[in-house]
């Protein structure tokens, strides 16, 4: 028994642990693909949906694999991201006209959805007393989910989403920063 190399055994066990964790993370993030598929079917730009959906899935796998606060961020992020996604998909079916000029409702819908999602993410993070890692990762997931719909008028929709999201986060972020001083 003296010949047992515990360092090597520990390394191999760690490697098995990581592989098993990665497998579970892929399985755990797989339901995100249903959201991506729905967005691809209902959206106007399947290529944008594929790009942001792919990023969303990879981000989800990484968050679950890394664990701790990060793994908690995936589903709140996806669920809040459904708000701007739904707004954008609904906005695709109509447009607003004033006089001779008509424009898509996508950008205002994404801004409104972004603000709402930002507020919800910040409230969840504050209520559950979660750290900055949660804020950042949930925000990233939420914006990637929303971006699948907000690319309806190109990247201006995505920028509107990001801007709205930042506005939504601001009150709670400011409160947190001032409370820590």
């Amino acid at each position: 028994m003296d010949s047992i190399d515990l360092a090597r055994l520990s390394r191999e066990a760690r490697s098995r642990y990581e592989r098993a964790r990665l497998g579970l993370s892929v399985a755990g993030a797989a339901p995100v693909l249903f959201v991506v598929a729905a967005a691809a079917v209902l959206g106007k730009r399947p290529s944008s949906v594929a790009f942001f959906g792919g990023l969303l899935f990879v981000t989800g796998v990484v968050l679950l694999w890394r664990g701790r606060d990060l793994r908690l961020a995936l589903w709140p992020g996806v669920l809040t991201g459904l708000i701007p996604l739904a707004f954008a998909l609904i906005a695709n079916f109509g447009h607003g006209c004033s006089g001779d000029h008509c424009s898509s409702l996508c950008v205002p819908a994404c801004t409104a959805g972004g603000v709402t999602a930002g507020v919800v993410v910040s409230v969840i993070a504050t209520r559950l007393k979660l750290g900055w890692r949660f804020w950042l990762s949930a925000s990233a997931v939420s914006m990637l989910t929303g971006a699948m719909g907000c690319a309806c008028v190109g990247y201006s929709g995505v920028l509107a989403l990001v801007g709205g999201f930042a506005v939504g986060l601001t009150p709670q972020v400011a409160r947190r920063v001032f409370a820590s001083r």
């Binding site: 028994m1 520990s10 664990g67 701790r68």
Partner: protein, 210 residues
């Protein structure tokens, strides 16, 4: 310190277990020497952290688990095979650390996995022996034959254990190793009594022993 003994009565007509073992007790269930055990509440917390992805505790979990797992495997398999099975058990336990249910005590959970590995290895060895039709060596005063008989008996005990529910297995293992359980007092005693009863029933069903 009083060690728990899980005794099964002998039987006059065991159909599969060799006659010479009628007066023996299960090797698995024999008393074990007193040993220093790790802080199991710590292990529970550490394994919970590891299951949530905290890599910093990995080495500590490994260190806390290695000794009890090695001792269990050497006890069940002997010096020669025990160390090998302990290593594969450690790999299996840490591979499944992500699935650890932190509502349950960690050490019985880990020991149950190691016990299962030992059982699998014993079966494999037994099957190999049957195919090669190995005869015990008589020149060593019957030591090899006795070892083989112990292995057969141990295999039988493990087979019976394998038919129990996971909770029963963990209760019996926790009792045997005197480790912390998720319950205590009267609940633990009742659970232990029920698990023992089911183990006896399983053994009787499998081997015709009372």
């Amino acid at each position: 310190m009083v060690r728990a003994r899980l005794l099964l009565k002998d039987s006059p007509q065991p159909p599969k277990v060799p006659d010479s073992l009628r007066v023996s007790r299960f090797a698995l269930l024999a008393p074990i020497p007193s040993v220093a055990m790790p802080e199991f509440s710590d292990l529970d917390q550490l394994l919970k952290a590891l299951s949530e992805g905290d890599r910093e505790v990995f080495t500590r979990v490994f260190e806390l688990l290695w000794d009890p797992i090695l001792r269990l495997c050497v006890r069940l398999m002997g010096e020669r095979d025990g160390a090998d099975v302990a290593q594969s058990s450690m790999l299996s336990i840490l591979e499944r650390a992500n699935e650890y249910d932190w509502h349950r005590p960690a050490l019985p959970w880990a020991l149950a996995i190691a016990t299962w590995q030992c059982r699998t290895q014993l079966k494999r060895t037994e099957r190999l022996r049957e195919t090669t039709d190995e005869k015990p060596n008589e020149s060593d005063g019957g030591a090899a034959a006795e070892e083989q008989e112990q292995r057969v008996l141990l295999n039988a005990a493990m087979e019976a254990m394998g038919t129990l529910s996971e909770t029963d297995q963990q209760t019996l293992i926790a009792t045997y190793w005197e480790t912390a359980s998720s319950v205590s007092g009267a609940t633990l005693r009742k659970r232990r009594a029920r698990a023992l009863g089911r183990l006896r029933d399983a053994f009787r069903r499998l081997y015709g022993l009372d």
